[in-house]
């Protein structure tokens, strides 16, 4: 169980969020209400189940608030859910993930723009080259390698030569599993181009 104060803040946030969902999001973003009558036929509208769920969520958040309000202060046995260290970690991991996903998506097309040659002066697009080696794997190899290596380095607090090797090897294994035997399978980002 988290500390009393944290639980109270959590309960309050959940209560407010669920009330926003009930009072604003559901009415504004659903074509039919809870109950719909059309040509004398009454049916359940699209808003019924989500409204019930959100109302009950608000109720549970309220009860949670009440329980924790009455709970003695000394039951908070654990460290806070979030702290500065956790935020630093999350920011670093987000940075690595964003970089890797960007490489997944753009490395192949950039490589095609820089190096691929079409017949005559015709420009070659990544879509034309996405099933051709090495272009079809450039995004996956660079993005996948970056993701595995940098995440391992983040956890270990240092870069190690052996991890470069193991990261490359793992990406190669994945290519061996997905790309070589399965012709109908597309590795990232080839389905998007």
């Amino acid at each position: 169980m988290l500390g009393r104060k944290t639980e109270l803040v959590l309960g309050a946030i959940l209560l407010v969020l669920s009330l926003i969902v009930v009072l604003a999001w559901i009415p504004l973003d659903s074509e039919t209400g809870m109950i719909e009558t059309f040509r004398r036929q009454t049916t359940m509208g699209d808003a019924f189940l989500p409204t019930v769920a959100a109302v009950l969520m608000a109720f549970c958040a309220g009860v949670h608030l009440f329980i924790n309000f009455r709970r003695p202060d000394n039951l908070g046995t654990e460290c806070p859910a979030f702290d500065g260290k956790g935020l630093v970690f999350l920011l670093q991991l987000t940075g690595i993930t964003v970089l890797s996903v960007a490489l997944f998506y753009w490395a192949g097309p950039i490589a095609v723009n820089l190096f691929a040659q079409g017949e005559g002066d015709e420009a070659v697009t990544y879509r034309q080259m996405r099933s051709t080696y090495p272009y079809k794997l450039i995004g996956f190899v660079t993005g996948g390698f970056t993701l595995v290596l940098f995440t391992t380095a983040l956890i270990e607090g240092r870069f190690r030569a052996i991890r470069i090797l193991s990261s490359l090897l793992f990406v190669a294994v994945l290519i061996g599993i997905f790309d070589l035997p399965l012709k109908n399978v597309l590795l990232p980002p080839n389905g998007d181009w």
Partner: protein, 531 residues
């Protein structure tokens, strides 16, 4: 078709299905190959601390669907593989618990109490044999209970429950899972309602996809497997990243103690373990049949029951084989009976069941639930044939377990030495790749990452994951039966309270929450493996 014909058809579907290869002219079906592969992979993964059967099931599901496609022929190989993994991981979890005092899976935690002391005394081989014998016995017993119970329960449900009662039963199951998983029933309920809310996005019956905010990327809702993988697997991966990042210094290489003495397990010793295994198998089976209560609690209760029965010279906790047997029989007995609510009610009660339901829903042609067990005489019910095919795959898994599982289990101790800080980033990439391979759209990867972040945050603020996932999966079914119940009641606002059965179910749903709210629970003992 008679009942026996259906059973035979199920067995034949496994043995004479699409052929993988042939030996001396005898075709080996792809289903048998996949069950075998899944079983061995499950042992390896179960023996790897930090990973578990759920990881493999989650990551391999999209890959298998990409390979086998969306045809009914894919059902048995894919689900057989998942069942193989489930069984293998249950056995494998005991390996690092005994050899290195590190449970491979959370439910093997109690195995460390007696397993590691035995290994320190040079009896690791005996401890592993005890764990395997107990695990295989508990698992087989639980499967037999499943085979005999699920069809009857399903027939009862199908005969006596209408739309309103089925809706009330789903509500009761969700409420039960929410109440028993995690430390606070209120948080469990919040997770379940949140799951229903998110599952509502982009779905519904109107032309306008509800709650899509007019955007195209939300118009089709969240892909089911992507969302479940994100919250369940990626959330866990990110959380473990942070734990390892905070705890860099405590990573010590596991050391192996030199083994000596008699490491075999004689028939006399096996007979002496039987009462402990029998008691724990019954406990595990009963616990497993209830949705949401994980194998960790079963192992704890089995161990406690064994401790009361034990009168031997070596005390529990000092390296008693009976302690290992009591724990392993209980946690393994959960795996079969866990499928009782899935096959008879269509309600997944634990993580493994979640992936079996996802496989069935993704591939199509098999909707786990009471309608599966329609023993129609005039025409063939293909779903029933698949159900008996699944039972056959479970028996194949058990045969593998009894014959070569024990030997293989003793070989995979090396997996406990794979550094987790290297393994988890690889799981991260593998999860992203698996999702992309199935969806072939970067949007699915973005959803995966977003749900992963959600899973991480939920773990940080101690909101249990399992109620969210089960509610997310069941939301569509719940809404459909509620719409039907509302329609047949002629738009009665009290449509859920018109029959005594549904009133009883709803009252139980409230009572179970009140009961579990009365005193604070401890997170570890009463929680599933992912909460």
């Amino acid at each position: 078709m008679s009942v026996l014909d259906y059973v035979l058809a199920g067995i034949m579907a496994v043995f004479t299905g699409p052929e993988a290869f042939s030996i001396f002219g005898i075709g080996i079906s792809i289903t048998i190959v996949m069950v075998t592969f899944g079983f061995f992979l499950g042992i390896v993964i179960g023996a790897t601390p930090g990973l578990g059967g759920a990881f493999v099931m989650a990551v391999s599901l999209p890959i298998l669907i990409s390979i086998f496609g969306y045809t009914p022929d894919a059902l048995l190989p894919v689900m057989g593989f998942l069942i193989g993994v489930m069984k293998g991981a249950t056995v494998g979890g005991a390996v690092p618990a005994i050899l290195f005092n590190t449970p491979g899976t959370p439910d093997a935690l109690m195995t460390t109490l007696d397993g590691y002391p035995m290994a320190k005394k040079g009896q690791a081989g005996k401890a592993l044999r005890t764990a395997h014998f107990a695990s295989a016995s508990g698992d087989t017993f639980s499967d037999l209970v499943l085979f005999t119970t699920a069809p009857f329960l399903a027939i009862l449900v199908e005969s006596y429950l209408g739309f309103a009662e089925k809706a009330a039963l789903i509500i009761l199951s969700l409420s039960f899972v929410a109440a028993v998983v995690g430390a606070s029933p209120m948080k469990g309920l919040i997770a379940a309602f949140f799951g229903i809310l998110l599952a509502s996005i982009g779905t519904g019956e109107d032309l306008y996809p509800r709650f899509s905010m007019g955007t195209e990327f939300l118009a089709n809702g969240f892909p089911l497997i992507t969302a479940v993988l994100g919250v369940l697997i990626l959330g866990e991966v990110i959380h473990s990243f942070e734990d390892m990042w905070r705890d860099r210094r405590s990573r010590n290489a596991a050391s192996i103690v030199t083994q000596s003495g008699n490491n075999g397990l004689s028939w006399k010793e096996r007979r002496a373990l039987a009462p402990f295994i029998g008691t724990s198998a019954v406990i595990g089976t009963l616990i497993g049949a209830l949705p949401g209560i994980g194998s960790t609690l079963a192992a704890t209760l089995g161990y406690a029951a064994g401790q009361k029965m034990h009168k031997g010279p070596v005390r529990f906790g000092d390296g008693a084989p009976e302690g290992i047997a009591a724990t392993e029989a209980a946690n393994s007995a959960v795996s079969g009976s866990n499928l009782i609510p899935v096959l008879s009610l269509g309600i997944p009660g634990n993580v493994s069941a979640v992936f079996l339901i996802l496989a069935a829903e993704s591939i199509g042609g098999f909707n786990p639930g009471p309608s599966v067990f329609r023993f129609s005489v005039s025409e063939v019910n293909p779903e029933l044939v698949i159900a008996f095919g699944l039972f056959t795959t479970m028996m194949i898994g058990n045969i593998l377990n009894w014959t070569i599982g024990g030997q293989f289990m003793r070989w995979v101790g090396i997996m406990a030495r794979v550094p987790k800080q290297v393994l988890m980033p690889m799981v991260f990439l593998l999860t992203i790749t698996a999702v992309y391979v199935q969806e072939t759209d970067m949007l699915a990867v973005y959803f995966l990452l977003a749900f992963g972040l959600l899973g991480y945050v939920m773990r940080k603020i101690r909101i249990p994951i399992l109620p969210f996932v089960i509610a997310f999966i069941l939301a569509g079914n719940l809404e459909t039966v509620m719409r039907q119940a509302f329609a047949v009641s002629d738009a009665d606002p009290f449509f859920l309270f018109r029959s005594g059965t549904s009133v009883v179910f709803l009252a139980l749903a409230v009572l179970v929450v009140i009961f579990f709210s009365r005193k604070p629970k401890h997170d570890v003992t009463v929680s599933s493996e992912v909460s």
